[in-house]
């Protein structure tokens, strides 16, 4: 029997066990959905909702993941099955990889339900780069499954495992989550929000210090098919009907740029703005996805080695 066949069959067995127990899958899905709904209800400012989407997706992934990992070794604990593993030479590798695959599938299934719901509730008008977000969240789920399976096995015998699991797992997940959130935020912005930016000459530093030089911004969906100038003109007419405090300033290429994320654009005209379309840089984003994949790839053999050490006799 080849190793891949062995892993595949064991992973199917794990998924069958998961399907029979059901609690982890339902708990994770419920947890993810509740997180999304509560977040959506808790954000009053509609213009802030799209910005919250990437953070919310990763929060849901981490919380659903912890729910799954907390139950990951319950079946083994009841029958002391991990000890049996120590008796079978060469069994640790297929067992660990099969567990990781099963946790990955379960977590991915949860995210497949959570992500569209989060998008519908928070940013339905914004085109989301589904492939990029899917790949990033998928790699995040895989990394979580790898690290979570190791930590879950390490804490399997401890009474305080419910407390220790997030304490140990979250710091390990931090680099993955940081890169994943960055990709998701930039991917989402490039897909709709910041294709168009308006730049104005930088006000004197003294004005900035006094708050005079701050410029207003506005959020509105950008249609990639429509020329940027027309979109801005359309946005200006929309802005005239609203008023809100400025909320974002960015510096770019030595000029102070204003993202259109709040009303009162007429002030921008007075400053002599320059309109510029920022090209979408897909390659840079996919390079970051590749980095995430590389980190995940490195984590697998490392965690596998630690898992095998874990099975050594006391």
């Amino acid at each position: 029997m080849r190793l891949l066949e062995q892993i595949g069959r064991l992973a199917l067995g794990e998924l069958r066990l998961e399907a029979q127990r059901q609690d982890a899958l339902w708990a994770a899905t419920f947890f993810g959905l509740v997180t999304v709904v509560l977040f959506a209800l808790g954000i009053y400012d509609p213009s802030a909702s799209p910005k919250a989407l990437p953070a919310l997706l990763w929060t849901a992934l981490v919380l659903a993941g912890v729910t799954i990992i907390q139950r990951a070794f319950e079946a083994e604990r009841e029958g002391a099955c991990l000890q049996a593993l120590a008796l079978i030479p060469g069994a640790a590798t297929p067992f660990f990889v099969a567990k990781v695959l099963a946790h990955f599938v379960t977590l991915s299934a949860t995210m497949v339900l959570v992500t569209p719901l989060a998008w519908l509730l928070l940013a339905p008008d914004w085109p989301l780069p589904w492939l990029l977000v899917g790949a990033t969240l998928g790699l995040g789920a895989l990394a979580f499954a790898i690290l979570g399976t190791l930590v879950g096995a390490m804490l399997e015998q401890l009474r305080q495992r419910a407390l220790l699991l997030p304490l140990v797992l979250f710091p390990l997940m931090l680099p993955i989550v940081a890169i994943g959130v960055t990709i998701t935020v930039e991917g989402q912005q490039q897909a709709g929000l910041t294709h168009v930016q308006v730049h104005i000459p930088a006000p004197p530093p003294a004005q900035v210090a006094l708050g005079i030089g701050t410029a207003p911004t506005l959020t509105w969906p950008v249609d990639p098919q429509e020329p940027a100038a027309e979109q801005v003109a359309r946005a200006f007419s929309h802005l005239a009907q609203h008023s809100a405090a400025p909320d974002l300033l960015v510096w770019q290429d030595g000029r102070q740029g204003v993202r259109l994320t709040a009303p009162r654009p007429l002030a921008l005209v007075a400053h002599g703005m320059v309109l510029e379309e920022i090209p979408r840089d897909d390659r840079a984003l996919w390079r970051q996805v590749a980095l995430l994949g590389l980190l995940t790839l490195i984590a697998l053999p490392l965690c596998l080695w630690l898992f095998r050490r874990l099975l050594d006799p006391l």
């Binding site: 066990l17 002391a80 000890q83 006391l314």
Partner: protein, 233 residues
Amino acid sequence: MIREIATTGLYKRRGGRHALRGLDAAFCAGQITLLLGPNGAGKSTLLATLAHLLRPERGSVTYAGRPWAALDAAARASIAYLGHASYLYGDFTIRQNLERYRLLYRLAPAAIDQVLERLRLAPLASRPVRTLSRGQVQRAALARFFLPAPQVLLLDEPFTGLDEQARVLVEAHLVEERAAGRLIVLSSHHLGFAQLVPDQVLILQRGAGCHQGPVPADTALAELYRRALERGP
């Protein structure tokens, strides 16, 4: 093939007390060694150490003259251990459990039906382990134990929970395994066996051996056990 296991000066602390205190013992293929002793005498610790589930603080265990680290995968896989835990998944049926271990051991699919037949578990094979009685779970654990056709059989209280019929069945299997040249070490609190006559008895008390050798022809096992405990290590 492992023809002999020997322990030298085996010392192990467990739960803050001396579970094994400098134990020297030897076990040979084609023999059944019966481990006897009161609760806490070190029987389970010795069996788990022989199975390499516990590492002794001092002393050594050799398998056909070699340490565990020198054994190849096949030799390691030929050692089977039955402990107090069933090593079974409660939500899986007996067959699903055996299928899982078959995959981990990389055995042929026919091995499952053979072991189910051998332990007369075929009628129960489709039932989840969680729904079985204590004795049925023990039989399923024995099926898991016999599945890889081990050469070295280490059994900790294998008759726990078994009814008389199952007990006789397991005894018969152990006798068969001995005839096939297997090395068998088992612990038991039960002294009256129907078919099983141990080739040697190792009696432990407070982690040390107070008798190792065959049962004298003119002495009953219970009498030998009583005298050994009175004499002490």
